[in-house]
Symmetry: D2
Subunit: 148 residues, 4 copies
């Protein structure tokens, strides 16, 4: 499988993000090889995705006590373009790449001092907490995702 | 991008693993949605991969003080087929899918009570600690990976 | 504050544990100083405490959907007697030190190859999920904690 | 052992901090009980302590390649005064409570909207990476800790 299969043109792709969230590497996120442990980037993905969904008003719906739906991760992938280190300041960018009936494909990009250091993508599905089955987006939700 | 693009035939693929490592979901690995947080599976991947590399004698080389090489993760992906919960007992399977000059493509499969609950893949590259450049496998290392 | 204030006589104290749970240090639990990150031991405490409470039948009550009570951590402390490293095999011991009305004081001890490498203690309180107020133990629960 | 044994007068103690670091609770830091998992606060302690040591110029010394010393945690304790939740914005305060020959006792306080939600303390010891033995502070380091 070729890497970066979800990116046609890196420059074009990189310039298409309009939402970013800053993170700073914690000491506890390094490992004995001296760099950031690979599992940590998925935490950055989640933190950024959650901020993005908050901005769209989605988290508020999903976290509401009587809300019957939650978002679940269907798949995730990350390409590690360069090693990251303790105290690095990173901007994590996220965007909607494709909207499905009950799912959305998100793309991620990490930049350090303006240079791309990791990329990624993954599908989120809205499901019913009770049945575990997927639940279609409302038109309002689709509209918000398109606008963002 | 279609999911499970790295699997031609699931049954055939699932039966081709010969190494597994048991993990049990920790309470601290759950999140407020009541299931295992998505970032945790990559920790299971790493734990299993490390046991696999120990069995092949590779970790011993990489962790040796005077060793100049370390393995780094070039990319990772995971498909979450079902939600996992606190106290679940999971077998994480790993296998070599393709051997490159200085890299190896690993496939992962999680099973719970014999049922596949997640799959994944990712490339590991051997690099020089000093230069950060990739370092080709020795013939002995390639032989071991082929045998395993 | 003197260290180990919760231990009168280390030998006597160490011999009073009757429950232990094995853990093996994960690669992702190390940090760039080459040893296990300090925050990780509290994960081991929790994993062991949870196994202990499962043995007593308490987790089953707390995790039951209609159960109104959950255990929360009121305080925790850990004394790090020696550094731990990747792949170390550790036995984490736990015991009931004092039973309160709605709380229980637990003591912890980590041993590596029979040598004590960390000690700790902490209070768990049973509270109502709804009100957040403490809920007294049933006589049956107290009896089980005394027997264990 | 009485709780908060390291605090004589809470109001006086709370007003004696002069360094704080903001953290925001990540989704992945919650657990299935719906609140922040107890182990996470020690990560906040570390993140804040590291920022504090950076401000004093200590991290720069310890992280320098040729530096022979590193700080290790000798003990840690935390009192959880109230439950924390996803998205909570917390200020973590830290201060030097006592300076030893090669160690320093730090106190921690977490506040949410100005209200104290957790407190803690712990000793850090400077050791030699090579021998593992404690290494006394230089006069310059002691001076900086006193001033801060």
């Amino acid at each position: 499988m070729s890497r970066l299969s979800y990116i046609d043109n890196l420059e074009e792709w990189a310039s298409s993000f309009h939402f970013k969230h800053p993170v700073k590497v914690r000491f506890s996120e390094t490992d004995m090889f001296g760099h950031v442990n690979n599992t940590v980037l998925f935490t950055y993905f989640e933190e950024t995705r959650v901020e993005y969904f908050k901005r769209m008003g989605f988290m508020q719906i999903w976290l509401h006590d009587t809300g019957g739906e939650i978002p679940v991760v269907a798949d995730l992938q990350c390409d590690f373009l360069e090693q990251l280190y303790f105290d690095d300041e990173i901007d994590v960018h996220v965007k909607v790449a494709r909207i499905g009936n009950s799912s959305v494909d998100l793309h991620y990009m990490g930049t350090k001092a303006g240079r791309v250091c990791f990329t990624g993508r993954g599908t989120i599905v809205q499901i019913s907490k009770k049945t575990g089955k997927s639940v279609v987006w409302t038109e309002e939700m689709k509209r918000k995702m398109r606008v963002f």
